[in-house]
Symmetry: C2
Subunit: 354 residues, 2 copies
């Protein structure tokens, strides 16, 4: 069972994976564990369903069998979960330290049966189904009173922490409200207290007025390079209408979200030659996702630079590309140029492998 | 002039380096900028002093000339500073956003004239002089009322953000109290308010009692793998006596600090085969560094794993090596085995290059 331990100074929680503990030899540069897995069979490919734990849900063609081929989106438990679904928290003090069992959920959303496909080049309908799968898993896990927060994210490329190249996202549900989330909630609350408006609604308004950090806009969403971007080409997708939870999205907006997400990923792909990235969905905690005190959004962070001692010691990021310049480049990139680049997917797919 | 911009939600500041802005082509994987610099002359080597801005201070042999060879520790302004030393802050609002000039200081402490030397294998006297240089620069910059915080840190290895391999540390002075620092101060304050004791003094006491996370101990310092280590083999050097500022260290403790720092770096080097790492000195802000509300220490974070979407979205780190296991391995590593490994410095030095 993983453990949750709390830093007695900052209050931040850490997950300690004590069962599959790594020893020094696992980190040595020449150890086999750090080499590419080569052509090992992919557990996310159709036909290899038995390599994953039994599926939680899937969108399948009629007549296909659970845990067999015939699906187009498939959700499975993570084989090496950061948090385990069974058990109680058993919150305990160890002298001055706080401890609890690592209870939660860790799932993988396999986004397509096609191993070499890039999410940026999925068709809109397929990408929308990925988003519907996110929502279905969110709403199901929300019923578990032990779970306080549900994060959905995507690691793309080895540099961004992906260990398998087959397109997939992940979901982790935590028994606590994570520090980053608490910080955003508190910031939004403070702003609302002072100005009686939503900080994200104000961002949408000011960015659309100023225009220079806007990458794209459609009926329901605006895509911006945020004013205080931490990293070059950081990009946010903000819904125009105020809603605390991404799971409350109406069907029409979901279609719009899929279109704008695909376009944005293609812009980044074309502008930066298939960069590694992480995206995360920022949404309200489970028990307050209907009270309006937050404004959900998705942030994409390309991994183009390295956060080092200065960032660690201060939390201040040094961004070498002003967001106005990033937005200018992304705006000028035609996501429909993607039709051409899409023919090169196998090349991109190779680069994106692992 | 760099800019400081504040995230309107989290309140975190970001440095935007607008003058040497990087464009998409700078990040493309095949652009020359991303290739190794090969055998370009090293600006930190003796004889190449003219490649850096004029030196701020140096420990020099008698008769040697400023900005010439003959030094054993040399401090220079960073040629590409994250923050600039000239000018006023000009704090400004841009609609809902907060902005100020990127005023501060960014210096490089060149730790030895020997290009291929590893800091872990510097002799104690040399390492102590590096620490005295840290202190001298801290005390000098503290006089500037614009500067609120001074961070001293070291990036070692390309993965840890080092762009030059010649041994060096960095100092950045900021015109604001950084978020990470504010969080640690607030945590220490909260703990002291509740228990009327210093959280770090309590950590020292509990760790020495329990023993299982202790790596080493001498008269003045204890080295531990912290209870809530964020990353495998995270290691803290804690002074046993309570002091808010590392700059207030008595001479006897400085000697002890140099010995224990060198030993700890050698343990990590030997145990993990020359890992990339960042170390940072956590000390109180300039204007409260004498009031006792903090307890300075040094933290070392080997870069063995990748923080990805989950860490970004939550702030919760997943650590695959429990600190009890890390401490066991580091304790079992004889830093005097370093005498043998020191003969291999050139190999390690190659690996550590850039």
């Amino acid at each position: 069972m993983p453990e949750l331990r709390r830093d007695p100074i900052t209050g931040d929680w850490v997950i300690v994976a004590s069962e599959r503990a790594k020893r020094p030899s696992d980190f040595r540069s020449h150890s086999p564990g750090r080499e590419e897995q080569g052509e090992a069979p992919c557990p996310f490919c159709p036909g290899n369903e038995a390599m994953t734990p039994p599926e939680i849900m899937a969108f399948r063609h009629p007549g296909s069998q659970r845990d067999g081929p015939g699906w187009w989106v498939r959700v499975v438990p993570n084989k090496y979960p950061a948090l385990g679904i069974e058990g109680d928290l058993n919150k305990t003090g160890i002298g001055m330290y706080d401890w609890m069992n690592g209870v939660g959920a860790h799932e993988v959303i396999v986004e397509t049966p096609e191993h070499g496909k890039q999410v940026a080049f999925l068709d809109n309908r397929q990408l929308e189904d990925v988003l519907w799968a996110y929502r279905a898993r969110y709403l199901d896990l929300k019923k578990d009173p032990r779970l306080k927060y549900i994060l959905i994210f995507r690691n793309y490329g080895r540099v961004a922490g992906a260990s398998l190249s087959h397109p997939h996202s992940q979901l982790v549900a935590t028994p606590i409200i994570p520090g980053v989330v608490a910080g955003e909630l508190e910031g939004a609350r403070r702003y609302a207290e002072y100005r009686d408006r939503c900080v994200f609604c104000d961002i949408v308004r000011q960015e659309l007025d100023e225009g220079k950090r806007v990458v794209a806009e459609n009926k329901h969403f605006v895509v911006v390079a945020p004013y205080a971007s931490r990293t070059p080409f950081e990009t946010w997708l903000l819904p125009k209408s105020h809603s605390a939870s991404f799971a409350a999205i109406p069907a029409e907006e979901q279609t719009s979200f899929a279109v704008v997400l695909g376009e944005t990923l293609r812009r980044l792909h074309l502008c930066l030659e298939d960069p590694p990235y992480n995206y995360t969905i920022h949404t309200a905690p489970c028990d307050t996702d209907e009270d309006g005190g937050f404004h959900w959004h998705l942030s994409i962070s390309p991994r183009l630079t390295i956060a080092a001692g200065f960032e660690m010691g201060t939390g201040i990021y040094i961004n070498v590309t002003p967001p106005e310049i990033a937005a200018e480049h992304l705006r000028a990139t035609d996501p429909d140029g993607a039709a051409v680049a899409a023919g090169e997917t196998s090349v991109g797919g190779e680069k994106g492998r692992a």
